[in-house]
């Protein structure tokens, strides 16, 4: 059964979209990851224009993070002060990102930028995940623990920065520049690649800011919800690249998949699955990299002038 996506301006098989959305949702529930970093490249693989894939994914990330943030808010695991500073940085980053996206689109380099961004991003993420899961599989001490045991308060250069702010919930007194910069980078990622950016933000909050781990996830979800919502709004207004039909399809099936995944994760052995996810992420990165390196069958391509 074919369904017409009004903004992507293409017909797709509805079961293909539902299958992809469900599978990525299942994975995101299973591993507690956003899933956008897999969904965007998969959408591009099936022929959705990269701009639409990125814009739509931002809207979908709003949905997948909002239920998480409300759950964390009920448990008091959100540092609102920190979340607000991160969000302000995120909005600026998203604004710059959407503008840059538009410039690159008209210059004909947006596809390359997105692919290259994903090759680097997925390569690093997949590599880290593999490195972290392998010691567990091989019955060794996880690498992350060794890093975490160093604890906060080590970055002396950071404490010399001006504009210090007190973050009561995190029990921190640090310069606002650092969370603003982290938020900015995450906003840039959301706008350019359609990912939530949790992968970048969570480690940065733990290792760079030294935030207590129990407020990290809630606070990052708080920022992601607002920044992806702002980005989706900007992408829809500036680049006209949010396909609401595609977003709703992915969202409904993705939410169901995520819930099933979350339930399954309690029952199955995590480490082997983590290794598999890491390998899958690396496989997507390699596929994207090959497309960039292999001599294209056709050196010429159309489009980009009037957005067609």
């Amino acid at each position: 059964m074919q369904i017409y996506l009004p903004i992507a301006e293409m017909s797709v098989n509805i079961f293909l979209i539902l299958g992809l959305g469900g599978a990525v949702g299942l994975l995101s529930g299973l591993f507690g990851v956003g899933g956008g970093f897999l969904m965007t490249p998969l959408l591009i693989f099936i022929g959705v224009p990269p701009a639409v894939a990125v814009g739509t994914q931002a809207a979908q990330t709003v949905a997948s993070s909002v239920s998480g943030v409300t759950a964390h808010m009920r448990r008091g695991n959100v540092d609102f002060m920190m979340g607000t500073v991160l969000t302000v940085g995120g909005f600026v980053g998203a604004g710059v990102g959407v503008w840059l996206f538009n410039v690159l689109k008209y210059a004909g380099h947006i596809d390359l930028t997105i692919s290259l961004g994903y090759v680097i991003f997925l390569g690093v993420v997949g590599g880290f995940m593999l490195a972290e899961s392998l010691p567990g599989v091989l019955k060794r001490r996880p690498a992350a623990l060794a890093l975490a045991s160093r604890g906060p308060g080590r970055h002396m250069w950071m404490h010399g920065l001006p504009f210090k702010m007190r973050f009561r919930r995190s029990k921190l007194y640090v310069s606002a520049i650092v969370p603003l910069a982290i938020g900015f980078l995450v906003g840039l990622l959301v706008a350019m690649m359609g990912v939530g950016g949790g992968f970048l933000m969570v480690p940065a909050m733990i290792y760079l800011l030294g935030m207590p781990t129990q407020v990290v996830i809630g606070t990052s979800l708080f920022q992601i919800t607002f920044v992806t919502a702002g980005t989706a709004l900007l992408q829809a207004t500036v680049n006209k690249s949010v396909d609401i039909v595609l977003a709703l399809l992915l969202l409904v099936i993705g939410v169901v998949g995520a819930q099933i995944g979350a339930r399954l994760s309690a029952k199955v052995k995590g480490e082997h699955l983590r290794t598999m996810l890491a390998l899958m992420v690396l496989a997507v990165a390699i596929r994207l990299a090959l497309d960039l390196v292999i001599t294209p069958s056709d050196l010429f391509s159309l489009g980009g002038g009037d957005g067609s």
Partner: protein
């Protein structure tokens, strides 16, 4: 247009003057039919609305292939299809084909880049025609017009799923002894209808901001509801 005989030598019409692209649209066929007042050859040209097109050429930068040179072409027909009762060159002289832009080789495409070298512009022109043909938007369907007892003729015009919207012109030419004896132009409108069209117009119109706002609110509501529903299960 060339001289007409007193009696109309050529009449033509379409089975459908409006192609509606709905959510389930996977392409469609429109029947072109007509009659002539005697023997002659028929050439049909279908032209989609003119748009600007950019052709980009990839080059190797280190290990990576990236777009480098681009040529912009002005007023390129977004859709172009020729059908004729016999191969064009068998009944129509080159000069007429090029004057009326009948056939892929005769389409006039002007590049807008002042700095593009003639060589690269010619290469890009060829690439443009090839890419359009590959995406089923251009075609030279030879011998596709069937004639019956030298009076009636018909042809199926195919419009693929990716057909651009707008006003199309279907030009019908009657050739006799190397001359255009008569010609007729039938307009055809291809437009999106239904929910898909409403969404597209909303998203691309003046209220794009509100489209974005509604999208975000829908996403928020859906995520919230899902979370609430599954908490109780």
């Amino acid at each position: 247009m060339p001289a007409r005989a007193q009696d109309v030598p050529l009449v033509a019409d379409l089975s459908n003057h409006l192609v509606a692209i709905t959510t389930g649209f996977t392409g469609t066929d429109v029947l072109l039919f007509g009659a002539t007042d005697g023997p002659g050859d028929i050439a049909v040209v279908v032209r989609g609305p003119a748009k600007d097109d950019v052709v980009r050429e990839k080059r190797r930068f280190g290990p990576i292939w990236a777009n480098s040179d681009s040529v912009t072409f002005r007023d390129v027909p977004s859709y172009y299809r020729v059908a004729s009762s016999r191969p064009l060159e068998e009944f129509a002289p080159e000069t007429l084909l090029s004057r009326y832009q009948i056939g892929l080789n005769a389409i006039r495409i002007i590049d807008a880049n002042a700095n593009a070298t003639p060589g690269s512009a010619a290469e890009s022109r060829k690439a443009l025609l090839r890419l359009k043909t590959e995406s089923n938007l251009y075609d030279q369907g030879l011998g596709a017009v069937t004639q019956m007892s030298n009076r009636l003729f018909r042809t199926e015009l195919h419009f693929p799923a990716n057909v651009p919207t707008g006003t199309y012109l279907v030009e019908v030419y009657l050739f006799r002894e190397g001359q255009i004896a008569s010609a007729e132009i039938v307009p055809l409108v291809i437009s999106k209808v239904g929910v898909g069209a409403e969404i597209y117009d909303f998203a691309h119109g003046r209220f794009a901001f509100f489209y974005g706002l509604i999208s975000v609110l829908l996403a928020l509501a859906a995520g919230w509801t899902a979370g609430a529903v599954f908490r109780r299960v």
